[in-house]
Structures are given as structure tokens and as C-alpha cells.
């Protein structure tokens, strides 16, 4: 024990950096269909291997296989494909609008579309998501109008949030979408609190928390797991592991544990890992966890394994910290292409119909964009009023704010 060899600090590093060849050989990927599907009331200890494997449904040939397959009809899958295509087209247009100076900031979902789009399908009206900035699919699937999303992004006169929020920090209670916070992770424990409230009121609604891989390091993540574990809150806690947190690879937040899902094991919370680029797998796992929560068996932690193909945000350029071609070699492929191929294999879709759908979707998005821009963009056209800046701090404006509004001359 009197070992005098000097200590040294260990700082984890990604396998490759710019200039190197992308390498994901260290990413262990389960075969599609290989992971068992336990009962929703299974003892967490008995299913701890689910925190280390990856639940996958679509195999290389585009077939849906194994116990997690078979929960969605062809019509539902076709609709799901369109949701993801819509989100992708929306992203492309808004990213461009940002470059054109029509707004200050944008964040896209490229590569992660399946996660929010498939998950949302497992929910019921009244359930509440506590999303991060990378789950706009929840809104699209819920039927929130694209025009309203864009008005928020443009901070224009029709912005439902009156210009107060950064672009993409949407809020729509009606669509089960909690107001996004610019502060990472804070909403995770709030989701647990919301779920506890539903249980306190003997309601039937559940809450869904969302967090990024990097953000699991924040304190709110711990608070959420502690409270969810103690009160068996009816909540599904999602971790979207897209491999990166701005420039920081997931190993910095994950540290010595094999997976993020493993974090749940220390709390007796069932933890599942799922192929986040597999629409069918995400849906099946969501459905399992949602049923668990709804039947009062308590929380579930889900790690969605995916990859952030685009930049972190419109302010970021990933080529400074990872090989440019890294996304091409990501072993779980592209969620849109994989679902498309599956539907083609099933004989209900074709390359041609896909092209046509792409055109239709783009058309829809562009139409919405034109409509939104009629109400203004950040620096031109209709704007939310300066008065709006002073409203809504409190339900009723207190005297000091009234004085300040007067000083501002509005």
C-alpha cells in the first residue's frame, strides 16, 4: 500500500480527431431481434442486461425481426416516415433561413429524427413531454402547425411566445410539449414532479423527460432519478445519446460506465438501450415504458443510441473537433433511409413514391414558410411589441414594472 509510483490524471479521448479516420469499431451493437422483451412489470434487477445491449428491430435487409417487432401497421409506418421527412425538410429550410439572416439561431435534428417522431406515437393526449431543443419531432407528430413553429423561430408578430424565447425553444401545452428551457437538464426533474402530481391527483396521464448524453452530468439528472426512484413516478426518462455534446464526445459525460442506461441501475430503475435510428425499435421501447408508467409500475430510463449528424447549432462547426466523414461511418445508419427501405421491402413503398413524397413534404414546408414570413422575420416585417416584453413576468403587473414600461414609453 506504500506504493510511491506517481499518480496521473486520466482524461478520456474519442477514438479519432480531425485528420484521423473515423472508427466506430469500439461501438458494440446487438443484432436486430436479439434482445428479449420482458414483461413491463419485470424486476429491474432481472433485466439489467437491457442497459448494456441495444434493442433493434430492423435488420440489414430491412426486415423487422424479433420480439420488439410488429407493433405498428404499414399505414402507421408510412405516416411515421412522412413525419421524419417533414422534420428533415423543416430543418433544412430553417437552417437556410438562419443563414439568410431571417433569424438568429437554429438547431437541427439530422440523424436523430426517429427518436422524437417514433416516441411521440406511443403517447396519449394529455401526456406531457419535457423536451430539450432537439425533439421538435414531438410537435410535428402531435400536429402542431409548422407555421407556428416558424413564427417562433422568426420571433415575428405571430410568434406564440411573443419574441421572448430563443428560436426553437417552443412551448405548446396543448400538444403535450412543455416550454423548453435554455438551461440544460432542468426540465428532467420537473418531468418527475409533473408525473408525481398526476399520481397525487390519481390521474392517468404520464410525463416524459428528455435529456442529452452530455447533460446527464448535470445535477437535475440525479435529482430526477432519485425522486423517480423513491416515489415510483409515472415517468419515462429518455437520454438521447447522439455521441456529442457540442465539441465534447460522450465519453466525458459517461466516464467509466459502459453506457448511459447503466445510470438507472443504481436506482433500481429499469434501463433500456435502443437503436435510436430504428423507428420501429424506438416505438416499441417507448410503448413498453409508457405502459409501465401508465400501469403505475414506475419510471423507466431509456438510452436512445443515435448520432448527431449536423452541427450542434447554427453557431457550431464540427469539423474543428471530429472527422468530417464521421457521420457516414456511423454504424446505425440513417433513420429515414432505414424506414424507407423497410417499407420498400414490405412492398408498400418505392423509390419513386419516396421522391414524390419528398417533393410534397418540401412543398408543405415551403408553403408554411411563406405563410410564416408574411408575419415577419427577426429583422424585418411584423414584430412582437415592446409592450410584450413587460407582460407576463407576473400574472398581474406590479407597480415597479408598470413604471418601467412607462419609462420605456410603451
Amino acid at each position: 500500500m506504500t506504493n510511491d509510483a506517481p499518480l496521473a490524471l486520466h482524461v478520456p479521448e474519442p477514438a479519432v480527431r480531425p485528420g484521423g479516420l473515423p472508427d466506430f469499431t469500439n461501438v458494440r451493437i446487438s443484432t436486430a431481434g436479439a434482445v428479449a422483451r420482458p414483461d413491463v412489470d419485470a424486476d429491474p434487477e432481472s433485466i439489467r442486461d437491457l442497459a448494456y445491449s441495444i434493442i433493434r428491430v430492423l435488420d440489414r435487409d430491412g426486415e423487422a425481426v424479433g420480439p420488439w417487432a410488429g407493433f405498428l401497421s404499414d399505414e402507421e409506418l408510412l405516416e411515421g416516415l412522412r413525419h421524419m421527412m417533414t422534420l428533415r425538410a423543416f430543418d433544412a429550410r430553417m437552417q437556410m433561413a438562419q443563414r439568410q439572416g431571417k433569424t438568429s439561431f437554429y438547431m437541427q435534428h439530422m440523424g436523430e429524427e426517429a427518436v422524437s417522431c417514433a416516441f411521440r406515437k406511443a403517447l396519449l393526449p394529455g401526456d406531457m413531454n419535457f423536451p430539450t431543443y432537439r425533439q421538435a419531432g414531438l410537435l410535428i407528430v402531435a400536429g402542431y402547425p409548422l407555421v407556428e413553429m416558424m413564427c417562433q423561430i422568426y420571433s415575428n408578430e405571430q410568434d406564440p411566445l411573443k419574441g421572448r424565447q430563443l428560436p426553437v425553444l417552443y412551448s405548446s401545452k396543448e400538444h403535450g410539449f412543455f416550454s423548453i428551457s435554455g438551461n440544460l437538464a432542468t426540465q428532467y426533474i420537473q418531468a418527475v414532479g409533473w408525473a408525481m402530481a398526476s399520481a397525487i391527483k390519481n390521474d392517468t396521464k404520464i410525463a416524459i423527460g428528455w435529456i442529452g448524453d452530455g447533460s446527464t452530468a448535470e445535477s437535475d439528472f440525479h435529482a430526477a432519478l432519485v425522486f423517480a426512484s423513491t416515489y415510483k413516478a409515472p415517468v419515462v426518462l429518455n437520454i438521447v445519446n447522439n455521441q456529442w455534446a457540442i465539441s465534447t464526445f460522450q465519453g466525458i459525460a459517461r466516464g467509466g460506465s459502459g453506457t448511459f442506461a447503466a445510470r438507472g441501475l443504481g436506482f433500481g430503475i429499469p434501463a433500456l438501450r435502443v437503436d435510436g435510428n430504428d423507428y420501429l425499435a424506438v416505438y416499441a421501447v417507448a410503448r413498453w415504458a409508457v405502459e409501465r408508467a401508465r400501469r403505475n409500475f414506475g419510471p423507466t430510463l431509456i438510452e436512445h443510441v443515435t448520432y448527431r449528424v449536423g452541427a450542434h447549432s447554427s453557431s457550431d462547426d464540427p469539423s474543428a473537433y471530429r472527422p468530417r466523414t464521421e457521420s457516414d461511418t456511423w454504424p446505425l445508419g440513417d433513420p429515414v433511409i432505414r424506414l424507407k427501405n423497410h417499407l420498400i421491402v414490405r412492398g408498400v413503398w418505392s423509390e419513386d413514391r419516396h421522391k414524390q413524397a419528398e417533393a410534397e413534404v418540401l412543398d408543405t414546408v415551403i408553403t408554411a414558410q411563406k405563410e410564416a414570413e408574411r408575419h415577419g422575420t427577426l429583422h424585418s416585417g411584423g414584430k412582437p411589441s415592446v409592450r410584450d416584453m413587460f407582460e407576463g413576468v407576473f400574472a398581474e403587473m406590479p407597480p415597479h414594472l408598470r413604471r418601467q414600461r412607462q419609462q420605456a414609453g410603451v
Binding site: 428551457s181 426533474i189 420537473q190 414532479g193 402530481a197 397525487i200 437535475d220 407576473f394 400574472a395
Partner: protein, 337 residues
């Protein structure tokens, strides 16, 4: 009318509200079965069940964060932080979340949340059972901050806070729990049962947020105080025979500036007392406001008496605490600078 201690009055407020409104829930560390280390929630779990009043893990972040989620759902959580000194782990949830939720969601989600916490020193609690962090809340847009000074107000203000549609920070001067402590620590404190402000009406009533109370009419100087300092100021005025007008602010934000300005314009002088450290304390804001509104009425500099700019020490507690002697000296200086 029944006389109650301040703790009993606070418990009474929660009891009344839990009885009237089943969206009111109460939780915190040791708050459930045991009824809180100051016994403010004693009996509430037995009466309203474990779903309405319960113990939590020791996570102030978790307590407030979960409460924000519950409030967004539609409940009215009234949570306890065991000592105000332990609020900092929850500070992000208060500042970034509770305070801004209504604003950033344009009213889709709101946060009718009350965060109760014992504040102030005088119980030999050392650095971590004595703090008065009110200024850390008054700087945050979207929060209301309340500091009651007696049982009657405490109940009415707490009911108003629970009914308020927005988050309210409710700071309870723990040295006042048993009686109107005036800083004379060498003497036993008069119990609330012997004080008229110990008279607490039964049932539901409110003391509106944002209204100050004049505790002593006077012509020579206006004293702005809240919490324990109200009684210290009273003692100092009595002992120095200065004809002070003592205003108990009760709510720091929104502030009853009207009452303050009216008084200072009348007396021409102003002294501010609080227990929190001086620099950037709430007294600074009060001084700035009074100066802005009453500049031409002021006959002498506005003075501030406050805790020193050090952590709250254990052994030197009574040297730190701005007691009647120190307040009295400042009062005389404000009269004759």
C-alpha cells in the same frame, strides 16, 4: 381571538389551504411524518395523507424542481427548505425555471409555488443556520419575496402566497417563531401569547402581498425594516426616545413604495435595517429608491444598519447581529448626522 406562535400560525395557514384546495401539497426534508424540524407541518400528513404531505430526499434542487413540475401540472406546492442557508442547490430551479416559466411560455405554463424557509440568526446556528438571502431573490425578475414579522401576518401572507398565481419566496425569521425578539438576547423573549400580533384569526384570511404596515407612527425619521429587525427598531426607538416611524415592509417585492415615500417625505429622514450582510443587501435597493423618490425631501443621508460583510460567525453572534444598541446609535446619527 386565539393567540398563536408564529409556527402555529404558519401551520394553520397550510392547514386552511390544504383543507380548502386539494391541489395544495406540502413537502420537504423531515416535513412528512415528523412534521419538520421546526414543527411547521406537524399533523398535516396525518390529516391529509401521505400524497399531500410527505418527506423528501435531501435534495433542495429536487424539492423545488419537482415542485415546478407539479405547479406546471396544476398543483399548488408549498415546500419547505429546512434552513434558508440550504436554498442554493435549488437556486437554478428558482431563478431559471420557476421565475421565468410564465414569461417564457407566454402564460401556457405557470408556477404557483411557495418556497418557505426559516431565515436569520440569533440561535447560535453559525454560518449555515443564520443567513438572510432575501436580496438574492429580489434581484430575480418573476419572483415575489415575503418576510412576515408576526403570527397574524404570517398566516395571512402565507395564504396569500399559496393563492398567488406566481412563485413566492417566503422567508420566516426563525428568531420570531416564539416571540417578538428585539435583539435583547440577554433577556427572555416575550411569548406571542402576550403580544397583540399573536392574535391569529381562525380560518381563511389574507394579508395582501405588496402592502407594508406602519408599526409605529413618528415624525423624526422613517425606519424601513422587516422580520426580526422590526422589533429591534422598536426597541432602539424606545431606548433612544427617537420619534421614529417604523415601517414593516412585509413584502419586499412587490414593494409598497408608496407607503415608504409618503413616510420619508413626511419625516425627511430614513434609516434602513436588515440582518443580511450590508453590501448588495436589500437595503441598497431601498436606499436607492428612497433617494430617487425623496431626494428633495431628505434632510440627512439615508443610513443603513446591517449584518457585517462576513459570514455569520458562531461565537460572535451578538457582535454580528445588528442589535438595539447598534441600531439606536445609527438612529441618533440619522437624526443628527
Amino acid at each position: 381571538m386565539p393567540r398563536k406562535t408564529m409556527i402555529d400560525a404558519i401551520r394553520d395557514a397550510m392547514d386552511v389551504m390544504m383543507g380548502r384546495d386539494d391541489t395544495v401539497v406540502v413537502f420537504g426534508e423531515d416535513v412528512g411524518y415528523f412534521g419538520g424540524v421546526f414543527r411547521a407541518t406537524q399533523g398535516l400528513q396525518a390529516k391529509y395523507g401521505k400524497s399531500r404531505c410527505f418527506d423528501t430526499p435531501i435534495s433542495e434542487l429536487g424539492i423545488v424542481g419537482a415542485a415546478v413540475g407539479m405547479a406546471a401540472y396544476g398543483l399548488r406546492p408549498c415546500v419547505e427548505i429546512q434552513f434558508a442557508d440550504y436554498i442554493y442547490p435549488a437556486y437554478d430551479q428558482i431563478v431559471s425555471e420557476a421565475a421565468r416559466l410564465r414569461y417564457r411560455s407566454n402564460g401556457q405554463f405557470t408556477c404557483p409555488l411557495v418556497v418557505r424557509m426559516p431565515t436569520g440568526g440569533g440561535i447560535f446556528g453559525g454560518q449555515t443556520h443564520s443567513q438572510s438571502p432575501e436580496a438574492l431573490f429580489t434581484h430575480v425578475s418573476g419572483l415575489k419575496t415575503v418576510v412576515p414579522s408576526n403570527p397574524s401576518d404570517a398566516k395571512g401572507l402565507l395564504i396569500a402566497a399559496i393563492e398567488d398565481p406566481d412563485p413566492v419566496i417566503f422567508l420566516e425569521p426563525k428568531r420570531l417563531y416564539n416571540g417578538p425578539f428585539d435583539g435583547h438576547h440577554e433577556r427572555p423573549v416575550t411569548p406571542w401569547s402576550k403580544h397583540e400580533l399573536g392574535e391569529v384569526p381562525d380560518g381563511h384570511y389574507t394579508v395582501p402581498l405588496g402592502k407594508a404596515a406602519i408599526r409605529r407612527q413618528g415624525a423624526a425619521v422613517t425606519v424601513l425594516a422587516y422580520g426580526t429587525m422590526v422589533y429591534v427598531a422598536e426597541a432602539a426607538a424606545a431606548e433612544t426616545r427617537v420619534d421614529a416611524e417604523i415601517i414593516d415592509l412585509r413584502t419586499l417585492l412587490p414593494l409598497d413604495l408608496e407607503a415608504i415615500v409618503a413616510s420619508v417625505r413626511k419625516t425627511g429622514r430614513c434609516m434602513i435595517v436588515h440582518e443580511a450582510t450590508l453590501t448588495s443587501g436589500f437595503g441598497a435597493e431601498l436606499s436607492a429608491l428612497v433617494q430617487e423618490a425623496c431626494f428633495y425631501h431628505l434632510e440627512a443621508p439615508i443610513t443603513r444598519v446591517a449584518g457585517w460583510d462576513t459570514p455569520y460567525p458562531h461565537a460572535q453572534e451578538w457582535d454580528y447581529f445588528p442589535g438595539p444598541a447598534r441600531v439606536g446609535r445609527a438612529l441618533l446619527e440619522t437624526i443628527e448626522p
